[in-house]
Symmetry: C2
Amino acid sequence: MARVQRDGGDDSAPTTELPAVRDQGPPAVNGRANGRGAPMPADKVRAIPEAAVARLAVYLRVLSGMAEQGAVTVSSEELATAAGVNSAKLRKDLSYIGTYGTRGVGYEVDVLTSEIERVLGLTRQQKVAVVGIGNLGHALANYGGFPGRGFPVEALFDVDPDLIGIPVGGLPVNHIDDIPDICAKRKIAIGVIATPPTAAQAVCDRLVEGGVHCVLNFAPVVLQVPEHVEVRKVDLAIELQILSFHVARNAEQRVSRRTAAARASSNGEVV
Amino acid sequence: MARVQRDGGDDSAPTTELPAVRDQGPPAVNGRANGRGAPMPADKVRAIPEAAVARLAVYLRVLSGMAEQGAVTVSSEELATAAGVNSAKLRKDLSYIGTYGTRGVGYEVDVLTSEIERVLGLTRQQKVAVVGIGNLGHALANYGGFPGRGFPVEALFDVDPDLIGIPVGGLPVNHIDDIPDICAKRKIAIGVIATPPTAAQAVCDRLVEGGVHCVLNFAPVVLQVPEHVEVRKVDLAIELQILSFHVARNAEQRVSRRTAAARASSNGEVV
DNA sequence: CGGATTTTGTGCACGCATTCACAAGCGGCT
DNA sequence: AGCCGCTTGTGAATGCGTGCACAAAATCCG
């Protein structure tokens, strides 16, 4: 019951795992060495570390930028620097999804793009509902189909009666009591919670009731959800506080360096 | 040069470390066993893992909720469940900042609160500037001093001439060309980038020029910054794609379970 | 006062993630 | 054809983070 929420900010999270699919049928007849462009033995898909998934999404964006500029192939080194990671990590990340590179050459941009899209499940559209049409909700609703196709916003909800029926970003706002119905009917896959913290848990429960398995939570609360529901959290306050910590740490460091230097010089020591 | 950006969504990031403060003065005269409420040997402050810092911020919020409800003390077990982590982890996290608990009893809510605030550097205010007053920027500017005191928004910037001078959330919008000047003058500590991706790098450079050491980046690009600048990233598209991956994975799992079951039943096996 | 009970703080072991370093593979050049 | 240089893919090592399990401390109670 009620599983631990995965922090959208912080994922030193466990590897993505399927709960014991121990019976994987007969000894994998396709167990041959993967030839060029082999899409991983399917039993192994589960083995992609959560952290790697996050980076794959980054690579994807960088790749589409490169494609726009007419790049046909790209080396791990180029892609890595553009994505802000080291090239070994990039190659390992890519190795989780198969072997699509050519030694001595690099990767074909379009091949890599579509393979990452495939693994991330971006080949089918995931319908999104936004709950809480305040400042942030407005921003999200207008975000315009969410960057890159794939995530059409197909329902909006709020509790404010003045807002019900008003179109926002071309879509009318519904009352949150209708969440279960509408989500089920429209087959919403992802629910985005942009409500005040007090309403978040109730909203989340209704989303789950409506068959939503994935929730992106902007409200500063820890949501309790049943086992099978995936929650990611984005929390502005916490992001700021983490930055604040670094400010404080750096300040302290500067101070202690000063004192150390002062002490050293007063002792005639060489720093 | 240009150090790797720390992903706001994903932090399996390295432990917060100071670059070689090897000279830590004389052999720490206060090296005695820490009595009740001792604030860690100061040389050890650096040892707080990044992941723990993120969680400390969560504990802080949970604690303030509890304080409002009149709680005076709290056990690690209670606090842990409320924060969605296991109690051992919570205790370990707290141990990084000192020992403020009473065995057999728990923690005093207000003591713990102020100690976490101290470590996170929330005792001094960190001034924030928001760049890019679009939908998201509006939402951020109106966020109202950011949850819990500590992060006053003290400057707004945009490139759109129609917006310059217009007050948003009680603060006039300035032109992005004035970023370096104004940030330096008002001693802005944290810059929030809510611009389109194309503008983000230029904006970031100006923030750094204005003496800002911490950046919270909402634009979907990897920022290149000098060594001493701390960047955290919040990326909606990537969060959605990670969720999408889980949807896809679960779907696949269901399919493979079905096939396995079918195979098993056709073989007369017991599942 | 001593033992039972509760809860903290932490040593330890395990597992995931990152990084290094190198063999294997591919294309191009002579 | 054969060699050379480049780049991938991955085994192995290291380091970090998590969770267990227990000793140490503090309170309560008889």
